[in-house]
Symmetry: C2
Subunit: 454 residues, 2 copies
């Protein structure tokens, strides 16, 4: 059903106070859709719908609501009720939620949860932001070595309901070291008396609690995993991360790269929910840095004042400034984007630098020659009075040199940045554009000075 | 183990012809790692290792190899052996592989597979590129309504080994219409005599064969699914898509957006494996379009020749060209990136245009004021001889107007593009930069003409 249609029906039931029917209707819906519907409600209606929700799905719906709505809601319900919600959520969702709350509220909520869970949550809140530890869940199925398939299946029936996934079973030894995994599929296909050890896959791909979420995502993507175990520094199993959370991590990391490449300070919050003041703060730093850099480019123009003020040639060269700057910038960011993306996906390593350079050199010769030719012909044919073959030649050869330079710097800079443990995306389009701008104008005016002033 | 270490050990076994040991070593490795190792081998060694591989994993390894390697390999082994490989692969992997081969080879390979599978593969090859049909698999578990849990589990044990996932069971009626899904978890936790109908979730999120893979990815991400069923236009179940394939789709779509936003014609192939000629072809179209646009910006400069040739003021204004162009371009692409990304993630819709505009107006006033102020002070303090307060004021107010304009166009253009069913990413950075360039210079020179020429 269309969202708008669903919403109008639910709104109707809500406004006419038909709570029984509303509850029935909500039961038929996916938790994600209910959360989406609740986003559209004001405070009073939000609270009313939340109270009407069947209790067994309310914590799921709560986990899918966005943070503003959740804050609104917990301000209206009692601390014990909030604590109940936190108890019912998977630990990773609960931690996500608590991380966004003011410290005072977190303390109050945690006072009402039970001691064991409180200690656990506190431990999670201490993991570094974006580390595997901070996004993992502890609701997984573990078994000790030496158990049979039928014993394991019986245990699964007893405890499986509370696990985030039961489709991969983790096998540990007496010191809780992870020794292997068994896909549930193998258990189902095996005989009851088989030992799980015999079904176990020991070449387990795992991550540690302190690994960055980007590393986790890379492993999950590379090995097509449904979940990945998280171990502590001594190799003891402490949690798992499921692929649905990895999908969110991947989108988050991509958004961060998009932002950096557009000269923005990365931000976790949704655009529409960010205040103009915060948005401005994210944008000003790089704008200022790049503006000041561009002033130096302006300085290059001033230093060629003599050339530019010689009237006829001067205005022709000046009118070429936008074209040289834009084309150089575009050439540079084309390469840097491909290289940054290639590195993010693990397709390009630092050791490939010579291959990348040799490739770009050949591309640059092809692209540069075509752009130079177009310029030469264009200026001669449509350039108007004052254009001589030599001026056309100066512009064309400058274009060729600019393309060559832009492609080189666009390839080298992100790779060197990565090698120096800087974020390659930060080196991307805007910074490269600024560097190429300065150099393209220097190239143009220097060649012009050499060939035109006699 | 580190890849380099693993490789050197395998290389050693391979070179000293210890095939038994090599086979044992390969058995201990993940298929993905074996495929990665095989990428590093030349033709003869590649073939040797492939022959040594245990038969039950060779088709998995083959599915993870890259396309050049696979082509090399199938040229060396017989058509019947290739057909055997294709028979052993999951249908989605087989189709992926065949899609990349020359038509003649596909025909030869298919002649050796069995009739039923050949017809199936041909049907898959007819789905549009990047449609749900083209990426789905048919190895899923389906049951008719009315079956009990113990019957279903027995059936699973019999057929589950060949399925891509057994963790979601699809329930169909007599006309093969999808009526519900049952997570395997529920079956395991339920009593043997329960009817699967009773466990069934009927609010199934599904896609149709012709839906674009981007739509599929959006649903999987939104609803945190492990797999999604694919139905034909009559609602009959024809396949499923698992989340590991969706992870690849997400990265592919992101790469496409990165490429479009960097003025590249999107390409499916890996950077290092693309020829310079092909790379140049992907880059030249947009470079030409944007270069020609920038020539018009140059025309604006020429049209203000009178102003710019009045020596003292002229060179100051000319030296401001890079700063105005760069800052305007950066402001525009900051907004367009946020808006494009927001739309890709479903956070921003066309109906939000007024909200976006109102937000950007306020951001622009804040950002514009700061950048204008910095310029005013900088010019007065360090601008050197010839700078008067009025010139500083002209530059500052032009900067303010440029920021305002750039933010507006950066917000509006991608949203309007989407509404007009054009790709918003195509409207991004480079195009917006070019438009903003032209306008920022017009603003600067017009204000200068109005205030400075008396």
């Amino acid at each position: 059903m269309e969202f708008e249609k669903m919403k109008s029906r639910l709104d109707h039931l809500l406004e006419s106070q038909r709570h029984g029917e509303l509850r029935g209707a909500l039961m038929m819906l996916n938790e994600v859709d209910i959360a989406e519907y609740m986003q559209t409600l004001d405070k009073d209606k939000l609270l009313m719908v939340f109270r009407i929700l069947p209790k067994d799905i309310s914590s799921d719906v709560f986990a899918y609501m966005d943070n503003d709505q959740r804050q609104t809601l917990i301000e209206s319900i009692g601390d014990t009720e909030v604590a109940k919600l936190v108890d019912d959520m998977f630990i990773d969702d609960a931690v996500d939620f608590l991380e966004e709350l003011p410290a005072g509220v977190v303390k109050r909520v945690l006072q009402n949860t039970d001691v064991k869970r409180r200690n656990l949550i506190n431990q999670f809140l201490r993991y570094p932001e974006n580390s595997a530890g901070s996004i993992m869940t502890i609701e997984y199925c573990e078994f000790h070595t030496g158990i049979t398939v039928s014993q394991a299946m019986a245990e699964l029936k007893r405890t499986g309901i509370d696990k985030e996934t039961i489709y991969t079973l983790y096998i540990i030894d007496d010191q809780r070291h992870l020794v292997g995994i068994v896909p549930l599929r193998k258990m189902i296909l095996a005989d009851d008396s088989t030992l799980v050890d015999a079904l176990m896959d020991t070449g387990v791909i795992s991550v540690t609690t302190l690994d960055d979420q980007e590393t986790v995502a890379e492993s999950v993507r590379k090995y097509d995993l449904m979940s990945i175990p998280v171990v502590d520094t001594e190799g003891r199993l402490v949690g798992i991360i499921t692929v649905d959370d990895i999908v969110d991590v991947i989108e988050e990391e991509n958004t961060e790269d998009f932002e950096k490449m557009a000269a923005l300070v990365p931000s976790d919050s949704e655009y529409l929910k960010t205040s103009p003041f915060k948005l401005a703060l994210n944008r000003i730093p790089w704008l200022l840095v790049l503006m000041v850099s561009a002033m130096f480019t302006g300085g290059i123009i001033t230093s060629f004042e003599g050339l530019l003020n010689s009237s006829a040639v001067g205005i022709i060269l000046t009118s070429c400034i936008p074209m040289m700057m834009d084309t150089g910038g575009n050439c540079g960011s084309q390469v840097s984007t491909l290289v940054i993306r290639g590195m993010a996906l693990g397709e390009i390593e630092f050791r490939d630098l010579p291959r990348v350079l040799w490739k770009e050199l050949r591309v640059a010769v092809l692209v540069g020659a075509i752009l130079a030719l177009v310029n030469f012909v264009r200026l001669l044919a449509f350039g108007g009075a004052g254009i001589t073959p030599i001026i056309s030649f100066v512009v064309a050869i400058s274009m060729f040199a600019t393309v060559l330079f832009a492609k080189t710097i666009g390839a080298v800079l992100p790779m060197v940045a990565k090698k120096a443990h800087l974020d390659p995306a930060l080196m991307a389009s805007p910074l490269i554009t600024t560097i190429v701008d300065a150099c393209s104008l220097t190239i143009l005016f220097s060649i012009a000075t050499a060939l035109l002033t006699f």
